[in-house]
């Protein structure tokens, strides 16, 4: 598989290999021991011993046979003896070969055997000589006896018989060597010996010779039984009896030992067989486990297994899917090929420390795919150890957490960033403010926040739609970001409100303020540049409130509130402005908060009141009345609508308040029905945009009229341009419905907003009301005079009445009259007055005088 795999295999399985070797060696040992009796050499030895005995027996029998034969041939017995010598000479070789043990006992038995053979050989030689001598004598004796007998007369039977007896008894002696035969022959010899001197001369020599041969027979035959006994193979004369006995015992002992070893070998074999069966089932069990493990291995988690030398050994399919590496590409290589380079060596060093200490590590890590892309992975590495606790493998499980990371990122984005502009949101801003404060506490440097509100954004949103408004916000956000440094924060709080946070300003408050102002001016300048939104150019401005901070001298919430206050101040100051927070501003802010609280109770406490102002024509005759809302605050006194209506609109209180205004106005119309003058005039009532766009506004109006019994024809509703712009179709529809029952409409504050001819022609208006700002500038600002003239001209061509409000001087009235405006409202004709006062004025018919007089007094 891999180079050096063999050596690694031996290293890893060293103990098993040694155990296997020992098992094999013990089996071999038993095998050799069980074989210790070499059957071949044993057979040879046994055969040699048997043959030795056979020859021994043969020798004894042959000797006996030779003894009883007259003629004989010793070749055979000599050969037998030679054979026995050869056989006995071979026996020491068995001792050398180990068939016979090399013990003194065996050596002794062998030497005994050799002595026995030597003894037998000597006995055989003695036998051959004796037997030959005896037989020669026996053959020769009759011839000599015949010579003697030939010398003796026939009558000498006594002496003849003696020689006959000698011959007979010598023959008997060769057949029967007992004492009796021996004694008889001996007596024969003695008697003849005594006879010899008496024998004839010629016979004497032969008789002596005969006796000599007879004695030879006697002597040789006398020793014969003993020699034959020595040559026989019976009893103690049996050659090699001791050795044979010893060897038989020894062989049997060897056999028993070998049998024992065979039994041991069988037991070992049986044991191994049992183990093999056990192992077979265990292996089957393990195979099952391995199959399960293999199935589990192919999970959706990526798995990588590598050895302590950091060679990857296995990976699963998920690994290939995750990393792009196929098993062939990574097996044998180091896991380092997955490194992204995003982590330093210290990271890996700590990681390995943990693995070595705990056997386990898990954490987030950046890996590199085969295609080079880097992705986050949750990596769990576990060390696998063998029975000795030595690490054999590492298993790394890799989980792709790209999606999780992305989700986290997204959640973070959602939680801390504004979806539209991708700017930090309020929450993140608060975080960063805290951090900046902490940083400022260390450095002593100032920080600043700029609270930015786009001017007239609401109008743009209302007129061009939210998508255009969004485009403006996105562009404003972009410009804000381009105005700040890297470490600064631009956040969107919501709507058209942005906050810019700058850090690291000077430690000197004044210097810091200067820097903040410069930054604010820069932003204001940037946001004032024209915007190109889709197809048209838009001009916008912003109001900026600035608040400095240093360390934790103020809470984050208060800081924001201060900046908001400053911004509000800037806005109040006429927009497109920049204001620093100051304590007075704070007081106003707090007052406003109190006012808001009080407003909640104003309606129920009946603190509202309607004031009335007269409208006149060129002939100074009253032509109408406008109802104006006033708040009679219990402690602050009279509060003007400009102060509390925006608050009411913000809080939603405008709806009940507006309803109250309508009901009170209608009730007044009804009250004035019988009045000689007022009963002729129309009453104009202001309706806020929010009120008008209630879905049931028409129904409520009708119900109010019905409830109060007021004549709809005497009611004139004054709408602002913002009412119309909110939803022109709805506005037009509602206006038509109300016009059908006789209600009339006037466009209030005309010229200040986004007045355009297009909607002016669609609306069923009865009157345009020129805003007091234009009237105020008549004779001061030429352009406004032109606007006034244009409005009057336009209204004339559309057949709509025109009325000017805020007419305060006669010059203004003259100019307006000349321009063609024949209706007026203002101090010149009468201040807004409470009901009793107004009724009183009407009763006396002295509006104009009073006002003109008072006007005159002013000049």
């Amino acid at each position: 598989m891999i180079r050096g795999g063999g050596i690694r295999f031996i290293k890893r399985n060293f103990r098993q290999l040694v155990l296997s070797g020992l098992a094999a060696a013990s089996l071999l040992f038993l095998f050799v021991k069980a074989q210790s009796v070499d059957s071949d050499t044993h057979t040879l030895l046994a055969s040699d011993l048997r043959e030795l005995h056979a020859q021994d027996t043969e020798l004894g029998e042959a000797a006996l046979q030779h003894h009883y034969q007259l003629f004989h041939n010793y070749d055979a017995v000599t050969a037998i003896m030679q054979h026995m010598r050869t056989l006995s000479a071979k026996l020491p070789q068995y001792q050398q070969a180990g068939v016979l043990p090399d013990t003194p006992e065996v050596t002794r038995e062998l030497s005994v055997l050799h002595q026995q053979i030597d003894h037998k050989a000597a006995a055989l030689e003695a036998f051959k000589s004796s037997n030959a001598e005896a037989k020669t004598a026996l053959i020769f004796l009759p011839r000599v006896v015949n010579v003697v007998l030939a010398q003796l007369p026939e009558s000498d039977t006594l002496r003849r018989d003696r020689f006959e007896f000698l011959l007979r008894d010598a023959l008997m002696m060769t057949v029967n060597q007992d004492n009796h035969a021996h004694e008889i022959l001996k007596q024969d010899i003695a008697m003849i010996d005594r006879m010899i001197p008496g024998l004839p001369g010629l016979a004497q020599a032969s008789a002596i010779l005969a006796l000599r041969h007879a004695r030879s027979i006697l002597e040789n035959e006398a020793g014969m039984p003993d020699l034959l006994m020595q040559l026989s193979s019976h009893g103690s004369n049996r050659v090699g009896t001791g050795l044979e006995q010893f060897y038989r015992d020894y062989y049997h002992a060897q056999q028993r030992t070998a049998a024992n070893y065979r039994l041991l070998l069988l037991m070992a074999a049986m044991g191994m067989l049992g183990y093999a069966i056990f192992d077979y089932y265990r292996a089957r069990e393990r195979a099952q486990q391995l199959r399960i493990a293999a199935a589990a291995f192919e999970t959706h988690e990526s798995i990588m297994i590598y050895d302590p030398d950091r060679h990857i050994q296995r990976v699963n399919r998920s690994f290939t899917q995750l990393t792009g590496y196929s098993p062939e590409e990574v097996i044998g290589k180091a896991p380092d090929l997955l490194r992204s380079g995003r982590h330093d060596e210290e990271f890996f060093r700590k990681r390995w420390e943990t693995i070595k200490r705990d056997g386990h590590w898990e954490g987030e890590i950046w890996n590199r795919r085969k295609d080079g892309t880097i992705h986050p992975v949750w990596l769990t590495t576990t060390a696998v150890t063998d029975a000795d606790g030595k690490v054999t493998h590492y298993v790394s499980v890799l989980t792709d957490i790209t999606q999780r990371k992305e989700a986290e990122e997204q959640i973070h984005q959602l939680a801390y960033y504004d979806a539209l502009t991708n700017l930090p949101n309020r929450r993140l801003l608060l975080n960063r403010l805290s951090h900046a404060m902490t940083a400022g506490a260390r450095s002593g440097e100032h920080g600043v926040i700029l609270f930015i509100d786009l001017d007239n954004f609401k109008t743009l949103n209302d007129t061009k739609g939210h998508d255009i408004g969004d485009m403006l916000l996105i562009e404003a956000a972009r410009r804000l970001q381009s105005c700040v440094r890297g470490g600064d924060t631009v956040a969107r709080l919501g709507g058209d409100e942005f906050v810019v946070m700058l850090g690291s300003l000077s430690a000197e408050a004044e210097q810091a303020a200067t820097e903040a102002k410069a930054a604010g001016e820069n932003i204001r300048e940037s946001l004032s540049q024209p915007y190109y939104l889709r197809d048209f150019e838009h001009h916008s401005s912003c109001s900026i409130g600035i608040s400095l901070f240093r360390a934790h001298d103020i809470t984050v919430e208060d800081l924001l509130k201060r900046a908001d206050t400053a911004m509000y101040e800037a806005k109040t100051a006429g927009r497109n402005a920049l204001r620093f927070f100051d304590p007075h501003m704070q007081a106003v802010l707090e007052a406003r908060v109190i006012l808001e609280t009080d407003l909640h109770y104003a309606l129920s406490e009946q603190q509202f009141e309607l004031f009335f102002q007269i409208q006149v024509n060129a002939a100074n005759q009253p032509i109408g009345i406008e109802a104006l809302l006033r708040w009679m605050h219990p402690t602050r006194g009279l509060v003007m609508p400009a102060e509390f209506v925006p608050l009411a609109e913000e809080t939603g209180l405008i709806l009940p308040i507006g309803q109250w205004v309508l009901e009170t106005a209608c009730a007044q119309i009804k009250a004035w029905e019988m009045h000689s003058l007022a009963g002729e005039l129309q009453l104009a009532v202001n309706v806020s945009a929010r009120q008008f766009h209630q879905h049931d506004f028409v129904e409520r109006m009708c119900e109010t009229l019905k409830k109060t019994g007021a004549d709809p024809a005497r009611l004139k509703l004054e709408l602002t341009e913002s009412v119309v712009l909110g939803n022109i179709d709805d506005t037009v529809a509602k206006m038509h419905e109300l016009k059908r029952i006789g209600v009339r409409f006037s466009m209030d504050d005309f010229g200040t907003g986004y007045s355009s001819l297009s909607y002016l022609t669609q609306l069923p208006l009865d009157q345009l009301k020129i805003d007091r700002s234009f009237v105020h500038n008549l004779g001061i600002k030429r352009s406004d005079a032109v606007i006034v003239q244009t409005i009057i001209g336009m209204a004339g061509s559309l057949g709509i009445e025109v009325i000017s409000e805020g007419v305060e001087t006669n010059e203004q009235r003259v100019f307006l009259e000349r321009a063609g405006c024949m209706a007026y409202q203002g101090y010149l004709y009468g201040n807004p007055a409470p009901l009793e006062e107004f009724a009183d004025m009407m009763l006396h018919g002295n509006f104009s005088q009073t006002r003109i007089g008072s006007q005159a007094q002013l000049y």
């Binding site: 095998f31 069980a34 074989q35 009796v37 059957s39 071949d40 044993h42 057979t43 040879l44 046994a46 055969s47 048997r50 043959e51 056979a54 020859q55 043969e58 029998e61 042959a62 046979q65 003629f71 004989h72 041939n73 010793y74 070749d75 055979a76 000599t78 050969a79 037998i80 030679q82 030689e125 051959k128 000589s129 030959a132 001598e133 037989k135 020669t136 004598a137 026996l138 053959i139 020769f140 011839r143 010779l209 000599r212 041969h213 030879s216 070998a258 065979r262 070998l265 069988l266 074999a269 067989l273 093999a276 077979y280 292996a283 089957r284 393990r286 195979a287 391995l290 199959r291 293999a294």
Partner: protein
């Protein structure tokens, strides 16, 4: 699935181990019975022929290559200190296998103590030399070789002489795995010596059933040989040579001859047993007519004389001329024919 393959391999090994274990058990319990494989014992040698003298076998069954090599060794004079004395120097095959001298003559002409004996038919003898000091021809060669009065060479010298000769080296290499070693030299020599037989003597032909092989006087000589008791000692294939007997059984030979020497003690010199004093191997009578002079001391120059001496000292009789003549005639029928290459 490498896991599965490994698993299967493991099962296969386990199975193999089981088979081996079963096989080992089977082998030991059913096959390896040490008592089973037995060589049938060699046939027991039958006792000797009823005939006192048996004919010399015609068929020798010897390895011809060894005989040829042995002949070269036998004839090679380099087997001696002076490069002059070969085996054949004393045991001339042309003169009955002896030198016909009373005493042998060795290297540098040094004299031997006893008479040279014939090499013919020595293979049938189990006793070599007159005192029987060698039982086999292989043993025999160790006596003349180092003897100062014979060849006077030690074995390393013999091997060195042979190693110098390319022909010897090849011949030994062909026949003997061990090459030129004392054992192989002895074997070659002994094999050749065993080929030196003299079959087909008149008497052998008679023994084999040719009743006309002997004439009347020769047959009478054989009868006399038996009736005198000579046959008791001179029996066997070699008509002697298979037992020891004293010279002078009835009459004292040395008393008459005088000048008793150590060489006369015979077998005593070998065994140092008093009973063996003056005992000599009974001389084989094959080719006896060709091996004069006779007796260990070469005291009888003719066969007639030797026969008379034997009758005188062993039986105590003086044979008449007729008897001696018959016996000598009979003894002459024991002369066989050596054919070089016979039995090869």
């Amino acid at each position: 699935m490498p896991v599965m393959i490994k698993q299967r391999r493991r099962l296969a090994l386990t199975f193999l181990a089981m088979v081996l274990a079963c096989g080992a058990a089977f082998y030991f319990f059913f096959v390896a019975d040490p008592g089973r494989s037995q060589n049938s014992s060699e046939p027991i040698v039958e006792p000797g022929e009823q005939l006192p003298i048996t004919p010399i076998p015609l068929d020798l069954k010897l390895d011809a290559r060894k005989v040829a090599l042995g002949r070269r060794l036998f004839l090679d004079p380099h087997f001696s200190r002076d490069n002059r004395i070969s085996c054949a120097y004393c045991h001339s095959l042309a003169t009955g296998g002896t030198d016909s001298l009373p005493h042998a003559s060795g290297v540098d002409g040094r004299p031997g103590r006893v008479i040279t004996q014939t090499v013919f038919n020595s293979g049938f003898s189990s006793m070599l030399f007159r005192d029987g000091r060698a039982a086999t021809l292989e043993e025999l060669i160790d006596f003349p070789l180092p003897h100062s009065a014979e060849m006077d060479l030690a074995w390393p010298e013999v091997i060195a002489v042979l190693e110098q000769d390319q022909a010897y080296r090849n011949a030994f290499k062909d026949i003997y795995q061990e090459g030129i070693k004392p054992h192989s030299v002895k074997d070659a020599f002994a094999t050749f010596a065993r080929s030196l037989t003299t079959p087909n003597s008149k008497f052998d032909r008679y023994l084999r059933g040719d009743k006309n092989a002997l004439d009347r006087s020769e047959l009478a000589g054989y009868q006399l040989f038996k009736s005198l008791g000579c046959i008791s000692c001179h029996q066997g294939a070699n008509a002697g040579g298979n037992m020891y007997e004293k010279l002078g059984l009835v009459e004292n030979y040395y008393a008459h001859r005088g000048n008793v020497q150590e060489a006369d003690f015979g077998r005593y010199n070998q065994t140092k047993r008093e009973s063996d004093r003056y005992e000599f191997r009974v001389p084989p009578l094959r080719n006896v007519a060709l091996s004069a002079p006779y007796f260990h001391d070469a005291s009888a120059p003719t066969l007639d004389q030797a026969v008379a001496t034997m009758a005188r000292y062993q039986l105590g009789v003086d044979l008449n001329a007729n008897e001696t003549s018959k016996l000598v005639k009979f003894l002459n029928t024991l002369t066989g024919l050596y054919q070089e290459g016979a039995g090869e």
